[in-house]
Subunit: 355 residues, 2 copies
């Protein structure tokens, strides 16, 4: 059905470049919304707490808006600079309701409106786009989301066991309600999206996953802790900045290339003249090269250089040599798990210093 | 942008059959959601009434789900028998929340669960699909929706002026909040969708409009009155039943045909052998022919007959002769206005007998 509607794409990192159905994320996301909707009477029937139901509904509404916008993006292929701000639009219901809700509960406390709004919109934009940027090989988008979700749930369980205050417990239970169905459904999707992928998940899934995390972080009041589980994404984003903001030339696709003979992935490169790059770009290249994150070679034409693209995937290929797509995906998942473990230990080991 | 994504269709009732962008409804619907979201702080900030905010959010969530499903349908072209039940899925958030909400407010009153649920799901399915069926010529979907919305608002204003009880007033204000932006945005869309159309609205719009009416009818507690404004849709649906349920052969498209020489619309026909039709079908044909609603002729091949399709559009062409597309659309809008006026007078003139 997706094929017929033109919702399909070529898997560029396979020898025969097969056509795969795209936007499978929209099914999973729809199923997720249905499950959470069916939870409403289970969780709230007979309880007099309207305030938490309001939060829950605003969360669903924001996720639903994000899925809608993500699917529109998949179908219409919006421009990059428009896409970045879709999560801001979708997070409006959540933020406005949160604001109204807090306004009712703590009406005496003046809320620093702009600062607080800005932070949370940033969170929504960051969560969605950082997952969307760290992508390009089979299973990576879904895999990293599952790992992050599992670590957030671990954090929630620890918090509930510490039992600091009833309000805190409730926030963490809320997060679990949201993430258990998310993880289950994502694992099912991962089965089909893992190498060799039978389906693509589309931008819809990245937006959906990112928005779910943002919602959980905002309403669960642990957005700072959550950032600790996004370390690879933060690193990848900062690393990408010189290319994303055109300080260094950026090709259309930055994912690794397939070496057809060996069947392994190799670095993809951007080729350009060093004189085209301004001083900031040159400094970036120098620093990143010194750190061993990028590879720089003279091109066949003596005056030009080729430089590996600024993504964490390319850096991994520099450090570990050529890898098959499956191995690179595994490596990235291990990296994510390692980073999340580090984040969790920072949260509970050094939290006195940070918070 | 919609063209590039394959979201376009031919306008079959024009001489040159131009390609027009489709699914424009999704923009309007998205804008509508944004406007209603921005209303949240205006309406609810500082008020302690969480219960109405819960209703409002569940309404937005249902409409958002419906838009998402409608757009998925536009892109994927779902089968007819799946489409019919999409509104039931989308109305779940509304109904479950309503149930929970009532459960809190009137917890002592046992609600006849199944009966009540069934009624409201029926309402959602009816409102969306009846608008979707009465379609096929430029401006008709949007035009009828605007007329219905205006009459519902008239009803609301009358109710508010009668000022029977504060609860009733609040319900009617709620309906106005929902319908004023809807009407404004639909009128803008109508400007581009009216003959000769520059855009198509897609199933997205029909679902969106129908769901908005269903939500307003359910939460405003005037679903029976609303049915009075849907008389042409009810008539068209009942009239279509013999073809929809295959008692009489049903061609792929049932909208009128264009006579290229005169530039006017003429009846479209289904051709078949009378012996193919079972006894129920024959009775339907006999009754409808006696009422002058359908036209039956001998086909060129003596053994077969041709029969005008069972839609209100075809009946109008029988009564009034060939009409241009613009005139037929105008006629239908007048019919809708007339039917709504009749409905309104029934509601206020004979309400003692009916309610």
């Amino acid at each position: 059905m997706l094929f017929k509607a033109g919702q399909s794409g070529r898997d560029l990192l396979k020898k025969d470049k097969p056509m795969l159905p795209e936007s499978l994320g929209v099914y999973v996301a729809g199923l997720y919304l249905t499950v959470l909707t069916l939870f409403i009477p289970i969780n709230y029937l007979g309880k007099a707490n309207h305030s938490t139901l309001v939060s829950y509904l605003s969360a669903l509404l924001s996720i639903c808006c994000m899925i809608l916008l993500g699917f529109v993006d998949d179908v219409l292929d919006l421009r990059w600079r428009d896409k970045v701000f879709l999560p801001a639009v979708a997070s409006l219901p959540l933020l406005l309701v949160y604001f109204v809700n807090e306004g009712i509960t703590y009406v005496t406390v003046p809320i620093p409106f702009r600062e607080y709004f800005g932070n949370y919109i940033d969170l929504a934009i960051f969560c969605t786009n950082s997952i969307n940027i760290l992508a390009g090989i089979n299973g990576l988008e879904v895999g990293q989301s599952v790992v992050i979700a599992i670590f957030i749930m671990l954090h929630n369980i620890i918090q509930i066991m510490l039992n600091i205050s009833p309000q805190l417990c409730e926030n963490n239970y809320f997060s679990l309600y949201m993430l258990i169905p998310f993880t289950t459904l994502s694992l099912t999707l991962l089965k089909y999206n893992w190498y060799p992928a039978k389906v693509f998940v589309g931008d819809t899934y990245c937006y959906f996953a990112g928005m779910t995390f943002a919602v959980v972080g905002i309403l669960g009041h642990f957005s700072k802790t959550m950032m600790l589980f996004f370390l690879p994404q933060i690193f990848n984003f900062v690393f990408s900045v010189p290319q994303l903001f055109k300080m260094v030339p950026c090709p259309r696709h930055r994912m690794p290339n397939l070496n057809v003979t060996s069947g392994k992935l190799e670095n993809s490169f951007a080729e350009f003249d060093l004189s085209e790059v301004n001083i900031i770009g040159l400094i970036c290249i120098k620093i990143l090269r010194a750190l061993g994150l990028i590879d720089l070679k003279k091109a066949a034409n003596e005056e030009r250089v080729i430089i590996s693209n600024f993504t964490i995937l390319n850096s991994c290929l520099i450090w570990f040599g050529s890898l098959s797509e499956r191995d690179l995906a595994k490596l990235m998942i291990f990296l994510q798990i390692f980073a999340c473990l580090f984040g969790l230990s920072v949260r509970y080991g050094f939290s006195n210093l940070l918070y």
